[in-house]
């Protein structure tokens, strides 16, 4: 069952690991019926020049709208890849789409975003018996995803929003989102999608809260910077709690030892991006001064992934494909544990397509170290009630 002999029926997938942008685009788009597509999602590896890819897409796509972003890794039909351009073409027969670009999101004007989104969603015609959802792709270094997604969630109240933050292959320098053939930094793209497919949201992580509380005693919430925890310099205290030397702190350590925020029965991962020179810690999700966190202990990542992707619709069918936004820190941990091959096989078998993010959005919440996705199922003949 894990190895499905067929590809998905309701999305066309093209990939290329050609180092040249034009070649890659041409190769990837070769198998796609661009003319019959409603829109195309492009996930660009760090290795390719964004502007070159954009220019190539403009030529190749012949007016079919292209959305996407730069990434910290791709999930193609082969599983995890680092240098492959991934194109996903959504057929017109099954999808309708509208888009809006939010520019200069840093700092974010919530009221402006809200009013623009409001107008935008009102214009989007509703087709009877089609399902609606929204995809959000945001600059992964903007640090505005929290506010952005919660604003959109409150405006698009009856519309589930799934999103991923763009990456730049762990360089943390500049990330881009693609909107109608152009690359934007400090921006976010919102896609409103209607489909006659059934879909289910997916979201899981693999951490459990452990240990004593950690209190943020000094921070800059806007920059997601934490200077002190438990009254000590943040990096030093974190190293003490994790049990390693400050000098040994690395993305891998951060990936394995995230902090969790508990809220009622649920917990939310606050991933650490980096340790600065002043022993501050920068985070990939919203934090606050005075916040109480705990360390997270990872569970079996392969198992949680398999379980999380084991979805069925009401009739018991498996998804046709899953659009996935997978945190790059998860991938780091997987690589660290040398599980890349196994995980890739699972992703392949479950027909997961997508990219490695700097953050994931679901239900109005921006998180880290999670897997967020949308599983699409073959539409069932809906008998009249």
């Amino acid at each position: 069952m894990l190895d499905s002999p067929h590809g998905p029926s309701f999305v066309q997938v093209g990939r290329s690991d050609a180092p040249d942008a034009l070649c890659a685009v041409q190769e990837a788009a070769a198998g796609l019926s661009v003319a019959d597509s409603c829109f195309v999602l492009a996930f660009i590896p760090d290795a390719l020049n964004v502007e070159a890819v954009v220019a190539a897409l403009d030529v190749v796509m012949q007016g079919t709208p292209v959305f996407g972003c730069t990434t910290a890794g791709q999930i193609t039909g082969e599983g995890y890849e680092s240098d492959a351009l991934l194109l996903l073409a959504f057929p017109r027969a099954n999808f309708r789409c509208a888009s809006i670009l939010f520019e200069n999101i840093r700092p974010l004007s919530a009221t402006q975003v809200a009013s623009e989104a409001q107008r935008f969603v009102e214009k989007f015609q509703h087709t009877a018996r089609w399902n609606r959802l929204a995809l959000l792709l945001a600059d992964g270094l903007s640090k505005q995803e929290d506010l952005l997604v919660s604003t959109l969630e409150s405006v698009l109240s009856d519309l589930p929003i799934f999103g991923g933050s763009a990456g730049d292959g762990l360089r943390f320098e500049q990330t881009f989102v693609l909107h109608e053939g152009r690359a934007h930094s400090n921006a976010a793209v919102l896609l409103l999608i209607e489909t006659n497919l059934e879909f289910q949201g997916v979201g899981f992580d693999h951490f459990l809260p452990v240990g004593t509380p950690i209190i943020i005693t000094d921070a800059n919430p806007n920059e997601r910077l934490v200077y002190e925890i438990n009254g000590s310099p943040a990096a030093l205290e974190y190293a003490r709690l994790v049990g390693c030397r400050v000098a040994d702190l690395s993305p891998e350590v951060f990936a394995e030892n995230p902090m969790l925020l508990q809220h009622h029965a649920d917990h939310y991962v606050r991933a650490i991006n980096d340790a600065t020179d002043g022993h501050a810690l920068s985070f990939l999700a919203a934090i606050d001064d005075g916040l109480i966190l705990t360390l997270g202990r990872g569970r079996e990542i392969l198992e949680t992934l398999t379980t999380g992707l084991s979805l069925q619709d009401k009739e018991g069918h498996t998804p046709d494909f899953i659009l996935g936004f997978d945190c790059v820190l998860r991938r780091l941990e997987i690589e660290q544990k040398q599980l890349l091959h196994e995980v890739s096989r699972v992703l392949q078998a479950r027909r997961v397509f997508g990219f490695n993010t700097y953050g994931e959005q679901q239900s109005g919440v921006h998180m880290n170290q999670t897997f967020v996705g949308v599983a699409f199922f073959e539409p069932q003949d809906r008998a009249l009630p």
Binding site: K143, L147, I215, I216, R224, Y268, G290, L291
Partner: protein, 772 residues
């Protein structure tokens, strides 16, 4: 793991903790802030997310429940329809006034409307259809009413029931019940079989009842005839005709009562005055509903007519032939009257006799009262006289006593002694008289029974009577008993004394008198034996009467009051007195008394002994007294009384006397407090030990304390306190010595054979108050 690195210096830890607190406080304060903040946005988003998740869960659950409920409902409905089809009754459910479901039996009630009974049919219309059906013959109430009632009173859940008769003699009962505000259930039960069966049973019953009635009619003792409203004969029995002596034709059904009356008149069977009242009777019957008359019939017959109105406005006439009854009654009444007259006379006689008797009774009562008063005054007089007479006799005795002293050894001496004896008898007689008068007075407190010890009493008797016996040369033996009895001390003493005095008196010199006790099942029997002249059987009843003596009693033996006193006292005290005697052999008197539990007290003979002054104390008396003057004085006194005295100052002196003498003294008198801490009791014990004899001893001491007394009594030493009364000392010495010599514990034995044990000699004299 603690919040703060425990390896830090304490002040550093404190500083960190302060920072932590500060941060928490800052955050807590910021909770109220509004305005955009990434974290606040995140926080509100996750709260919302969790709420939504919860709602989705609820929704999913509700949907599942709804689904299963829907399935259940479908199934129930299917089951219901199946169940209805198999029912033997027609069933229909109307929901909100419209037919929801029904079974075939229901819809097939009337074939012409069956096709119209389909779901959706309004209930009102259903009833209209039924009432318009050609098959409906009748119903016991309007179908419209039922329909209206069901609609009008939707709250009323009671059942409305209606019986429908359909063509071909088919019957149905239709029950309508409102099971809820919306639902009405109609049940259709076929009752054809029941209706038909009822009908058959009813017809049979009516026939049977008619037969039964006819039979009852014919067998009645009275004559009965029923008439219709218009007065024609309906039914009658043979007895009716028999009483009236009528031909059957006159009373054939359909005949008029007028013909009957006419027949009666023509045959002069009814008195004219009775016939004249017929109209009056009829009105009476009509207005009151019943009528009862007694009429003469024919020449000498009496008939009672009893008429009652019947429910159908006809009437029933019942006749009873009372001729015989009337005659019997007359005879009876005559007899009753005669008997009553007799009784009245007898009663008057009785009343008169009773009155006479009452007069006699009254007279008797007065006589009795007079007699009682006389007796009472006589008794009082006797008591007063006896008492008053005793005073001068006492005085005379004292004078005689003096005279005896003066005339001792003169020729007058004999005379004085005779005089003394005569006064003694007179005194005795007076005492007896006084006793009898007291016992006769029947006052409740004459005797006061208490628990008392016989020992003291018997010792007293001995002390009193031993001298008399001695003087008469009669041997008197008293065997004291320590038993306790319930009796009056004065009268018991007097009784025993009298018996002993009598015994001595009637015993010839050289004879014996013995006093002793026996135990007998909860009782004590005190017995006085003598070897006297005895009492003849014929006298044994009489001897207890006053002033009576047996024939063989020598003259001058007194007035014979003694036994009378004994008898009266015993009766009052509830003792049984009996006598057994044989002339020439002897007599025994017995007093049987109730025994009680008691503790024997050391009985002293003090005051009970009356010894004449001149009886010499011819005994050896050992006196131990450390005070020389006291020793001299008591030695002088004792020697004057005639005793040989061994005066000792101490234990050693006393022991020396005894040793020198070689025999034990007859009695020891000892002071308690001796020299060198010695005590009298110890010396007594010592002397007893030395002599090997239990010498009687009296302790004379000024110490009235209980320890001394107890010490003495434990060693069998009597106690007298100083100053010693000589009147007590002398009798006590006498008593102690005598007791020692006769032996205190001498067994009760019959010393002499007195009489025989033949039954006729035993004679119970009186049985007091119900005791056997």
């Amino acid at each position: 793991m603690s919040l703060v690195d425990p390896n830090d210096a304490p002040e550093v830890q404190i500083a960190k903790q302060a920072k932590i607190i500060d941060a928490l406080m800052r955050r807590a304060n910021r909770q109220k802030d509004v305005g955009p903040s990434a974290f606040r946005a995140f926080q509100s988003a996750i709260e919302l997310q969790q709420q939504v998740a919860a709602q989705i869960r609820d929704l999913a659950r509700a949907e599942t429940e709804l689904e299963s409920a829907r399935y259940e409902r479908e199934r129930t409905r299917r089951n219901l329809i199946e169940a209805l089809s198999s029912m033997e009754e027609g069933f229909a459910l109307f929901t909100s006034g419209q037919l929801d479901l029904c079974n075939d039996l229901f819809s097939g009630l009337a074939p012409d409307i069956a096709s119209e009974i389909v779901p959706g049919l309004p209930i009102r219309q259903f009833f209209d259809l039924v009432s318009d059906s050609v098959h409906l013959v009748s119903s016991d109430r309007g179908l419209d009413d039922v329909a209206a009632a069901l609609q009008e009173y939707p709250e009323d859940s009671t059942t409305a029931s209606i019986v429908l008769e359909l063509s071909a003699d088919r019957w149905y009962q239709m029950s309508a019940q409102r099971t809820s505000r919306e639902n009405v259930v109609l049940l259709l039960t076929e009752i054809t079989a029941i209706v038909r069966q009822n009908r058959v049973e009813k017809e049979t019953l009516i026939d049977r009842q008619a037969d039964y009635l006819q039979a009852v009619f014919q067998n009645m003792r009275s004559g009965v005839c029923t008439f219709s409203e218009t007065g024609t004969v309906l039914m009658n029995n043979a007895r009716f005709r028999e009483i009236l002596d009528l031909p059957a034709a006159i009373l054939a059904p359909g005949q008029s009562i007028r013909d009957l009356l006419k027949y009666l008149r023509d045959h002069k069977m009814v008195r004219r005055e009775d016939l004249a009242k017929v109209d009056v009777w009829r009105r009476e019957l009509t207005s009151r509903g019943w009528l009862r008359k007694r009429v003469g019939h024919g020449v000498d017959r009496v008939v009672e007519i009893h008429a009652n109105r019947m429910p159908d406005a006809g009437f029933l006439v019942e006749l009873k032939d009372l001729t015989l009854e009337a005659r019997t009654k007359e005879t009876l009444e005559n007899r009753v009257m005669e008997r009553t007259a007799e009784l009245t006379r007898a009663n008057a006689e009785l009343v008169r006799e009773y009155q006479e008797k009452a007069v006699v009774e009254e007279a008797l009562l007065q006589a009795k009262e007079r007699a009682e008063a006389a007796v009472s005054s006589k008794t009082r007089f006797l008591a007063a006289a006896s008492h008053d007479l005793l005073q001068p006799i006492n005085a005379a005795k004292l004078l005689i006593s003096t005279l005896q002293g003066l005339t001792r050894d003169t020729e007058l001496s004999h005379l004085v002694d005779r005089l003394n004896g005569a006064f003694g008898s007179a005194e005795q007689l007076l005492h007896s008289l006084l006793d009898i008068s007291r016992l006769e007075s029947a006052e409740p407190d004459t005797v006061t029974p208490t628990g008392l010890c016989l020992a003291a009493l018997m010792e007293g008797i001995y002390a009193d009577q031993s001298l008399v016996a001695e003087q008469k040369n009669v041997r008197l033996d008293v065997v004291p008993s320590s038993a306790f009895v319930r009796s009056d001390p004065i009268y018991l003493l007097r009784s025993v004394q009298n018996l002993v005095v009598n015994a001595i008196q009637y015993t010839e010199p050289g004879g014996r008198v013995l006093v002793g006790c026996r135990r007998k099942a909860g009782h004590i029997v005190l017995e006085v034996w003598d070897t006297g002249i005895g009492i003849a059987h014929k006298d044994q009843d009489r001897i207890f009467e006053e002033f009576t003596r047996a024939d063989n009693v020598p003259a001058g033996s007194g007035m014979g009051l003694g036994l009378s006193v004994v008898d009266r006292a015993c009766r009052l005290l509830g003792h049984t007195l009996s006598v057994r005697s044989k002339p020439g052999v002897g007599t025994v008197f017995r007093i049987q008394m109730e025994r009680v539990e008691g503790e024997r007290e050391e009985a002293e003979p003090a005051g009970l002994m009356k010894l004449s002054e001149d009886t010499a104390l011819e005994h050896i008396v050992l006196v131990i007294e450390n005070d020389r003057d006291a020793l001299y004085a008591i030695t002088q006194l004792l020697e004057q009384w005639g005793a040989s005295v061994l005066p000792a100052h101490s234990r050693e002196e006393a022991a020396t006397f005894v040793r020198d003498m070689g025999i034990p003294p007859d009695i020891i008198l000892a002071d308690y407090q001796l020299d060198d801490g010695d005590t009298g009791v110890e010396v007594v014990s010592h002397i007893r030990a030395v002599t090997g004899a239990h010498v009687p001893a009296i302790l004379i001491t000024a110490d009235r304390g209980e320890p001394v007394r107890r010490d003495a009594l434990q060693n069998d030493v009597s106690v007298l306190t100083k100053p010693v009364k000589l009147s007590r000392l002398r009798p006590m010495i006498m008593w102690k010595i005598r007791r020692f010599q006769t032996g205190e514990d001498a067994p009760l034995a019959i010393p002499t054979k007195v009489g025989d044990d033949s039954k006729d000699a035993e004679h119970k004299v009186r049985v007091p108050g119900g005791h056997a």
